[in-house]
């Protein structure tokens, strides 16, 4: 479904962000990417979403080369997902607006989504009037409004407190199972990577390259966190991260 083929990215100022990154994510698979700070994770997502061109290599989604942002794909950022000058409703319906949906259609889709996400009654609020968890749910609403087949997420939960975070992790897990979406999640939390990824890709320090891919087929339940195999996988990921740092 998503194939990254020998991606290398060197920024114009000479910074090497990625080096020869290759992986593939099957249809309906959930894949976590973890790596030290600055190793090129955001760069990788920008390339996969078609916003940034790689210096070398290519990304193929469903058999076609990615050269521009695709309609099947939604991108979620950590801190900048929402526009502070737009209300909850305006933020959530922005994607639909840009894709040319009519006013009534937007209202129908967004209202029911906000309701599902427990944001009913907050339509006219501005992001800064909401808690971090609610803001992130608005960001999810905006992405989900377009009914994407693929979700690319850049540390979407990293600024949240532990409880809210677990809450939204469960939410993402449910979403993935119900909608059979393909997900690519960048995170710097080992537990999150293992909880949400049926496969965990471990990147080396900058320029990022794949050190190891940890298969994690047992994930998929919200009580996975308490299971022995969960801890084993976390240990495995931690070890490969440490190995890369030396």
């Amino acid at each position: 479904m998503i194939e990254a083929k020998s991606l290398t990215k060197t920024y114009p100022d000479g910074t090497g962000a990625l080096h020869d990154v290759t992986f593939d994510i099957r249809d309906g698979e959930s894949c976590s990417v973890i790596g030290p700070s600055g190793c090129g994770k955001t760069t990788l997502l920008l390339i996969c979403s078609g916003i940034l061109r790689p210096t070398e290599g290519r990304v193929v989604i469903k058999g076609t080369d990615v050269t521009a942002p695709s309609k099947e794909l939604a991108l979620i950022f950590q801190d900048y997902g929402l526009f502070p000058w737009k209300t909850v409703y305006e933020n959530a319906s922005l994607g639909l607006e840009l894709r040319g949906f009519g006013k009534r259609e937007r209202k129908r889709i967004v209202s029911s989504l906000l309701k599902d996400l427990g944001l009913q009654g907050f339509e006219k609020y501005y992001p800064k009037q909401l808690s971090g968890g609610m803001q992130q749910r608005v960001a999810f609403a905006r992405a989900l409004a377009l009914n994407p087949k693929i979700m690319l997420m850049d540390e979407p939960l990293s600024s949240l407190d532990a409880l809210t975070r677990e809450n939204l992790q469960n939410f993402l897990l449910q979403l993935w199972r119900q909608k059979r979406m393909t997900m690519l999640l960048v995170t710097h939390s080992i537990e999150e990577a293992v909880f949400l990824g049926s496969k965990v890709i471990v990147l080396s320090p900058r320029p990022g390259t794949v050190i190891k891919t940890v298969d994690n087929p047992q994930m998929g339940d919200s009580d996975y966190r308490t299971k022995e195999v969960f801890f084993d996988k976390c240990r495995e990921v931690r070890q490969s991260l440490d190995g890369g740092a030396i």
Partner: protein, 250 residues
């Protein structure tokens, strides 16, 4: 709750105004000088002035300053916004760097030679000075917009125009309006300067005229009117800012 907040603001302004006039009165009584009439005397001069054309002088001054600010705004904002593009900024940055620090007011003779001594050159001089203040601020704001704000829009397939509409313009508006509010003071100063000669209309002229006649109540009445003009524009811009940038104030 919002109503009571607004009321509180209203009261605090009233109290401040009363305090200013009270202090003025006190100092005037203590000094007992012809050069500082009491607010009451000035008030009567003001009322007399109202019957004697003060309004029309105020009006012409208002027009000059509003046109000046509007002209500056309509040029500086678009240029400042598109400076977001590095391609454009290559030209705008040196322009600002070289032209902003020079005192534009010394260009008055040149402007008068080019545009005559009428209202046009007065408006242009006001506009020129305000232009740079708005341009510098707008450019700084648009240059500082993080790419992280723009990526999500790009992933939604936004065009350039849509990026300006949804991100760059709204992100810069608070800074633009603040710059305009700050520039009112400068604009009034320039207004006084350009109205102090070669014209028989405007508050600046009234001030110079009353001064030359040593009619201090009239002088103060004109000065107060000019202050009120600045205050009025300032309040208006503040209102606009609060309305347009509701998200900043919630």
């Amino acid at each position: 709750m919002q109503g009571s907040k607004a009321e509180l603001r209203w009261w605090s302004y009233l109290i401040t105004a009363v305090a200013i006039f009270g202090l003025w009165h006190l100092v005037a009584v203590i000094l007992d000088s012809i050069a500082l009439p009491t607010p009451v005397t000035v008030f009567f001069a003001f009322i007399a002035g109202l019957k004697d054309g003060l309004i029309s002088h105020l009006l012409i001054s208002t027009l000059r300053i509003v046109y000046g600010i509007a002209l500056a705004f309509s040029l500086a904002v678009p240029i400042g916004l598109v400076s977001h593009e590095t391609r454009v900024d290559k030209f705008v940055a040196p322009l600002i760097y070289m032209l902003y620090p020079i005192p534009h007011i010394v260009l008055l003779p040149v402007i008068i030679l080019l545009f005559g001594i009428g209202d046009l050159s007065k408006i242009i001089l006001i506009a020129m000075i305000v232009f740079f203040q708005i341009l510098v601020t707008t450019r700084d704001a648009s240059r500082n917009i993080s790419g992280n704000y723009i990526y999500p829009l790009l992933s939604l397939g936004a065009s350039k125009r849509e990026i300006y509409k949804h991100v760059i313009l709204p992100a810069c508006i608070p800074k633009i309006l603040t710059a305009m509010r700050i520039s009112v003071g400068t604009a009034i100063a320039v207004l006084f300067f350009v109205e102090s000669f070669a014209t028989y209309r405007g508050l600046g002229y009234l001030i110079m005229d009353a001064w030359s006649r040593a009619n201090y109540p009239d002088l103060y009445a004109a000065m107060v009117t000019m202050a009120l003009l600045g205050f009025g524009i300032y309040v208006l811009l503040d209102r606009v800012e609060r309305k347009v940038c509701r998200w900043v104030y919630v």
